[in-house]
Symmetry: C2
Amino acid sequence: MVKTQSFKLVLCLVCSIILNIFFLFKVGGEWNLSWSKRAATEAEAVAAISCSGHGRAYLDGLVLDGNKGPVCECNTCYGGPDCSQFFPDCSADANGGDPLFLEPFWMQHAASSALLVAGWHRMSYSYADRSTISIELERHIRKLHDIVGNAATEGRYVVFGAGSTQLLSAVVYALSPDNSSSPARVVASIPFYPIYEKQTDFFQSVDFHFQGDTSFWKNNSDTDTEIIEFVTSPNNPDGQLNTAVLHGPNVKEIYDHAYYWPHFTAIPAPADGDVMIFTLSKLTGHAGSRFGWAIIKDKDIYQRILTYLTLNTMGVSRDSQLRALKLLKVVLATGGREIFEFGHETMRKRWENLNKVISTSKRFSLQKITPKYCTYFRQIRGASPAYGWLKCEKQEDQHCYAVLQAANITGREGSIFFAEDRYVRLSLIKSQDDFDLLLDKLNRLVAREEGPRTM
Amino acid sequence: MVKTQSFKLVLCLVCSIILNIFFLFKVGGEWNLSWSKRAATEAEAVAAISCSGHGRAYLDGLVLDGNKGPVCECNTCYGGPDCSQFFPDCSADANGGDPLFLEPFWMQHAASSALLVAGWHRMSYSYADRSTISIELERHIRKLHDIVGNAATEGRYVVFGAGSTQLLSAVVYALSPDNSSSPARVVASIPFYPIYEKQTDFFQSVDFHFQGDTSFWKNNSDTDTEIIEFVTSPNNPDGQLNTAVLHGPNVKEIYDHAYYWPHFTAIPAPADGDVMIFTLSKLTGHAGSRFGWAIIKDKDIYQRILTYLTLNTMGVSRDSQLRALKLLKVVLATGGREIFEFGHETMRKRWENLNKVISTSKRFSLQKITPKYCTYFRQIRGASPAYGWLKCEKQEDQHCYAVLQAANITGREGSIFFAEDRYVRLSLIKSQDDFDLLLDKLNRLVAREEGPRTM
């Protein structure tokens, strides 16, 4: 009797000790966490809010009266408190360039991409070397270009901007003559990204003017006036690997390489323009962080850009730089393999699916992109552009945007890119929900071409 | 014998169970932490790096070969791997406007001000309402002004910028006539913050030109040309609560209220200019986050500013906005009491100590600031300006900067503020180390006035 009791006690003791060891083992790392606990708990609580896979809650989301946590922010055509409601009659939104196709990648890499910012992190205007550019981040950017092989960085300068947006403008200022009687002509090849013209017009500088399409200046013999040519490669909207159209001692190119990443294109060789612009938005998908960089060959130009950036914003937010560093560390951990395989695979599938639908149509066509050898993947890779550049082929469909709109599809008018309105840009880089909806509406539209079919 | 054994077993069991309960209780909150653990652990490890109280290590600091963690970044005149080495012959740096006097406040509020950013946080270009302005953050900013009583916000618009720097420029663009034959005249009252002139000159717009000191335009009867007057209150460099100098139907004021917080001045009444600019830099001390805001009365002006911000940077980094929100939540948790008492007390003491030294000198003088009733603290508060505006009184000391430099003190020349070089601005808002060093060098300099004293 006493023995059995002793045996039971020993058993209980053993169990309890095992539980203790389990606690010690399980808790391990965070045993010593102190001041960071609250922030970590808060972030995990928000991440745990269920939005049915059709939305997400953010730490700085709206908090409605009576609610403890922030509300779900739903994908287009989804609603309700947990985004579970689907609105089938709602328009597919293929308008904007929000790179949400990469959001699932970051959700899958939650632990390595999370960032804890201390309250006293980088309060100064400058880093220890008195610059506004993080040396660690610059080092990671150079390493990334070396690994991807998409840009020559050796012996060149790197500057940071609030997205490529700020840099496009900074570089135009830096390349323009100072107080000259003939301001620089800023040009681009149709179809082109509209911001080039909008910025140049809005800032109304005495030093430069937007002067339209490159083709107009091709046979122009006036070499006294400086020309600044935007070369977008791959091009937005049509995904082509554009090269400079104008040449001569008075022509300077700005290479906008926002999309020159293995997600969207084969990488035939490292780009080596004198002025090249990249952005985090289309690399990791973090458009909201407003972080971009330029790679500059000439020291004087580099210093003029720095002056612009100082007077405009005193450099890029240290919070954005810290975030970019964290994200690039995740990208580099596998030599880019994980993110570029994920990105390319997602974009390639979307492009294939879009082509499958459009190929059955006589009313619409898409741009052709030839597969090329990719030095990064070391194989020929199928096309995977960021946008479909859709053309309405029928004589009467002059306003292609309206044709799509009537079928509940919102694209972006060709005229916005200074092309004919027979074209529409369809964004393929948004969320999977957005793309699925686009495909579904396009399918219905194409199916109606030959009169109603049996679905 | 058996009974004693049983007793021992029970004792062990009880102890073990108590330990189990302790584990459960102690671990509590973070028991469920998963993906955020790594980031939290990493941040705490960096924060635990000892820099002897004369520096700090940052998450994105330089990592030297062979080291695991980032290096210490030391305050001026401190060095060595842990910043414990003091260089007594080094120059006191009272030049820049780094608001590090608030750094200890955030270190004391580590838990409430820490922020964990998920890898997928706010990847979009816009918030749910398609704007680039966080509604939650705007709500907190309005609440803060209501509590502090330093600005009227009701019925007005709020826009965000990358620090006040970007907004100063955005507002000049927005207030200038479009394509008019007579560009707006941009003016300010000497001594003034040099960026007003530098920005206006650098951006070379056809719509505005910098035209110097307000006094020149005081009796000017030309009312056809628009005048944009910068009114800095409190003024940088001299801390005075400036008011507009020019008046008339063609005059528009930009109120730069960067320093209009209880740290630096009594708050006599809410500011209610048509265009008012504030910045996080001088409120919480986070200059590196590049976050500011403007409060705008007129809808058209507000919309022109939004256009500028969209074309310039597509709004402010969502990372900066998230950080600003977190910091403002800490500020608001005590109705501003904790931070403003800390800030005012620090600045008041520094001002008193500086005055004590200068009052014993015949060679130098400081600006006078009259104590005023502060509606926030509900009492008359002694002066606590951000800068000392030092004057060299001796006839021969025309270049005051050089006089100080010879005594190992680096200030900022009066001519940078368009004033006489008989003046020098001394920054009082930097780290305690910087201020202590400044005071020490000034003490020695003043002590030498009457020949060597017994120290």
